[in-house]
Symmetry: C2
Subunit: 566 residues, 2 copies
């Protein structure tokens, strides 16, 4: 059966290697593994920025960060940027959001354009082009942006009362005397969240996704089911809180060489509070088991969600995409959180199950091509029969590959980071203009341009754990020059001429059309024009344009000779 | 007196060297020269693209073509791109258009954003952010876009009747038997236009500008008085038609070497009809006198317009900017029209008269710095006291320089050209994606990257006429490498993060604000947070944020200790 709907599932901060189908020895994720068995598992999928906002905006627009400009978490995607929802709408597809986008609305842009933020278009612009079935960015601090998220109402009804039930139940544990302990603190990550599993965030979003599916009518849909987890705060309810212990951790990947004269930007990142915390074993030992529990919970919820598709009888017409917006260092490379380009931060799981029988050719296979998250938007467009929009999207459809067809392969992946919002910029006294890192990797090498500093370079073949930055050492000039030029070629790919498709230009003899419209550039006299019309102009335009006959007649000061000749 | 209004005058296709103040020996332009005498004449002003549309969009947005994306004449500037009008509106300035913009409205973008093209915002978006007092793109062919321009109505009332008076009067001459001869044909360029001088296009736009000035109220204004001329069709009424002859032509600048194995893109451009026409001396001898007549007419109209400012008593509060959107090869380099990067195409006159007494320091001077047309928008913003917007505009304000202050000088100028709409792309079988030329010049060297082809290189010191393209020759590796890298540095300047100003980032300790908002990343426990608050956080934020006190109290599970400490 052909694809009617797309279940576009995104986790937040899920590293590629914390699933059993990606090789984790202790964390068993049978439901996600089963999805991989009936789909394609991409072994080398990369995000376009190592933090939520820009990575997601790239995924939703199919464009690199330098094209869409929403370069960090608090940077609004500008009103007018087209997203998945905008691209699919003309094909009758409804794109809805259930969960997180990390979008901040471009209120000043909307004001300038006279768009009411409360109007349906305004709401859509504020939600990355999705219709919000339920927006929930998953973090509701006491003093945060959203004072009354529906999840808090839900918790209150589920016997989890309070001024801010999220903080008091989902993000809190209990001490020995029943006192509340904040989930913000890493120290308490080994304690169960107070909220019962069935009312915690991942099951809640799953239920809301099921609500959407139940209520969806006949219109084809893309449901962006977007989980906040396993993103921090690292805290999970039972039974997941007790499932894993320090004995289930992957060996930490860090090297003393990495602290010896590191690249200045890397040094500043290592100096972030979160990095210093995760450099401590006690932090890793408390946090990672909770991180694993959160993933195990997601896997269970995937089982529930996939079963629901079966139950509704739409499993065979629903494509399922499972991925994440970036990874998590978890103490590897002396780093916490994300913010740089090691595999732990930018490589994510990507599994695509396509129910189309043509995809039987690749079912259960592992794809080792370099792929990027910006490839999803063009894939979705492809699914609904949309013409490619290379003048807008940087991504390339994965679908021919899903059908086992030979496809153009990427020879590199790109990841960008605007660290101007980070403490590293303050430490390094960098101007916001210049606080940019751009990475290119061809799979073998990873090269990073850091404005104002030397580049970084890693050899993934001889140093797969990326312990040795060769960017400051002699002997790699040729590699650096090659990747430097590849990055320049990438930087000059034009993606702002979004108002005219390439095809419209290429299918038209523009200059002839201009002439046929009566604008004659460089013609000496009437005879020269006549000759050009006879010999050069493509009659299809002349035939198609009802204005051209009379125009030419007037220009040529002829009677009806022209018309009788045609 | 300080500046209240800006008269922003743009000619179309006026080469820098066809004014007497720029050294033309036969074409006397006393009114423009007088403006230069009371202002600054920029000797090295460059446009950002050698054709109307993209050059203008760069001028109006203050952004390079690769940033705004409107890369050729029929490419709509996307709804949402900010222009002079948008930047000045918050300062109470009204920006109006009288004449040409070559803007095509982004109708699909407006439809997607729910903007009615007929609404005031829709009209503004359709006119580059200007309020159209009178839009007139100056070319009204029989089968063209605008069937009923106001100018045609005007002509009819002025005893120039007809179905299309523009074609029949402004763009037509008469043959010996009174037959109409079309101004489109170069052969007739030496004949006077049928329209009387006072009703021809340049005086008409001048009159409309004067109408605007007369009707303008107390609100400060920027009036973009935008002439179509001396752009083709090359035809001018008497007395200008008879003023100049072949004896007044500048010697043609072309060299046989330029036709010997030229760069493929240059070869394809030489092969354009208009180039082949202008390679013929009879074309140059008929056309250039008309071109000169059109400029002489502009100069006379400048006299009229400047006198009107005096008469209205606003000359001493009105800044006057006089420039053009690009040049004209006129047969130099075996080229007609524009479309490449020789000085004839991309160097334009730029004269700025600033009535502010602080500008007395530079009055009558010649500025030889490299300047770009994108510098005008930030100059205007500066005039009205607006804070610079380097996250949006690539340009730099010229105003400190007008006051004689030491300013940061450009070390290069950039010009881009998307030739995908030109016959050259068809000839070269280039994909629209790749039909890009990017030029960088440091004043001494001019270097051009042509996607898919070798670069071009000119040495303006040893070859000021640019006859010898060194791009394919050995011996310039170092220069090429340097300019290549400079172009890469330019290409990675971020100008899409338009929704957050640099200053907003740099003035804020973002991570602390996040923490004060209740999002605590990487804190081990309560004690660590307390310590951070005491030692690291900047109290101004804590003090400014009414939410932080209670939040911290809750997070820390403390009583009132925190508050009493502060």
């Amino acid at each position: 059966m052909s694809v009617r709907n797309i279940l576009f599932i995104m986790c937040d901060q899920l590293r590629w290697d914390y699933l059993s189908c990606y090789g984790h020895p202790h964390l068993h994720t049978p439901n996600i593994d089963a999805l991989a068995a009936r789909g394609v598992r991409y072994e080398r999928a990369y995000v376009q920025s190592p933090v939520c906002g820009p990575s997601r905006m790239s995924t939703y627009t199919g464009r690199y960060v330098h094209a869409h400009g929403a370069s960090w978490n608090f940077v609004p995607l500008k009103a007018g940027e087209m997203t998945i929802g905008d691209h699919l709408r003309p094909y009758g597809v409804k794109s809805v959001l259930i969960g997180k986008t990390h979008m901040r609305a471009d209120t000043s842009g909307m004001a300038r354009l006279g768009i009411d933020p409360e109007s349906s278009i305004g709401v859509r612009i504020s939600e990355c082009g999705f219709e919000p079935f339920e927006r929930d960015d998953g973090i509701h601090p006491y003093s945060g942006h959203d004072p009354a998220p529906p999840y808090n109402d839900y918790l209150r009804k589920a016997d989890c009362p309070g001024e801010n039930p999220w903080e008091e139940w989902a993000n809190a544990a209990e001490g020995p005397d029943g006192e509340l302990l904040s989930g913000w603190f890493l120290k308490y990550a080994n304690r169960p969240a107070r909220v019962p599993d069935e009312h915690s965030e991942t099951p809640y979003i799953t239920s809301r996704a099921m609500d959407f599916i139940d209520a969806a009518g006949d219109q084809p849909w893309v449901a962006h089911v977007s989980y906040i987890k396993p993103h921090w705060p690292y805290i999970v309810p039972e039974p997941y809180a007790s499932m894993y212990g320090p004995e289930h951790l992957l060996p930490v990947k860090r090297h003393e060489d990495e602290r010896r004269d590191p690249h200045p930007v890397y040094a500043a990142m290592q100096d972030h509070r979160v990095s210093k915390s995760f450099a401590r074993d006690e932090v890793r030992e408390r946090v990672i088991p909770a991180y694993m529990g959160l993933i195990k919970q997601i896997d269970d919820q995937m089982g529930r969600l996939f079963a629901h598709l079966e139950k509704r009888g739409i499993a065979d017409e629903t494509m399922i995409v499972f991925t994440s917006d970036h990874g998590d260092y978890l103490g590897d490379h002396w780093m916490g959180d994300k913010d740089l380009f090691h595999e732990q931060a930018i490589r994510v799981p990507l599994i695509v199950h396509d129910p189309d029988p043509r995809a039987d050719a690749t079912r259960g296979s592992v794809n080792t091509d370099l792929v990027e998250m910006i490839d999803l938007a063009p894939t979705f467009l492809d699914v609904y029969g949309g013409a490619p929009v290379p003048h807008v999207m940087d991504g390339i459809s994965l679908r021919p590959g899903l059908f086992g067809e030979a496809t153009a392969k990427r020879d590199h992946v790109i990841c960008e980071y605007d660290y101007s919002f980070q403490d590293a910029r303050v430490t390094l006294q960098t101007k916001a203009r210049d606080a940019w890192l751009r990475m290119i990797s061809d799979g073998r090498w990873k090269y990073v341009i850091a404005e104002g500093f030397r580049p970084m370079l890693f050899d993934l073949e001889n140093d797969p754990d990326e312990y040795h930055d060769l960017g400051g050492q002699p002997g790699h000039e040729e590699t650096i020059a090659r990747l430097h030029e590849a990055l320049f070629c990438w930087a000059r790919q034009p993606r702002q001429r979004v108002t005219v498709p390439d095809g419209a230009i290429e299918s038209t003899f523009v200059q002839e059309k201009i002439a046929e419209g009566g604008i004659l550039i460089g013609y000496w006299d009437e005879a020269e024009l006549e000759e050009a019309i006879r010999k050069e102009w493509h009659p299809r335009f002349a035939a198609a344009n009802p204005l051209i006959g009379p125009t030419l007649k007037k220009l040529l000061r002829k009677t009806d000779r022209q018309e009788t000749e045609q």
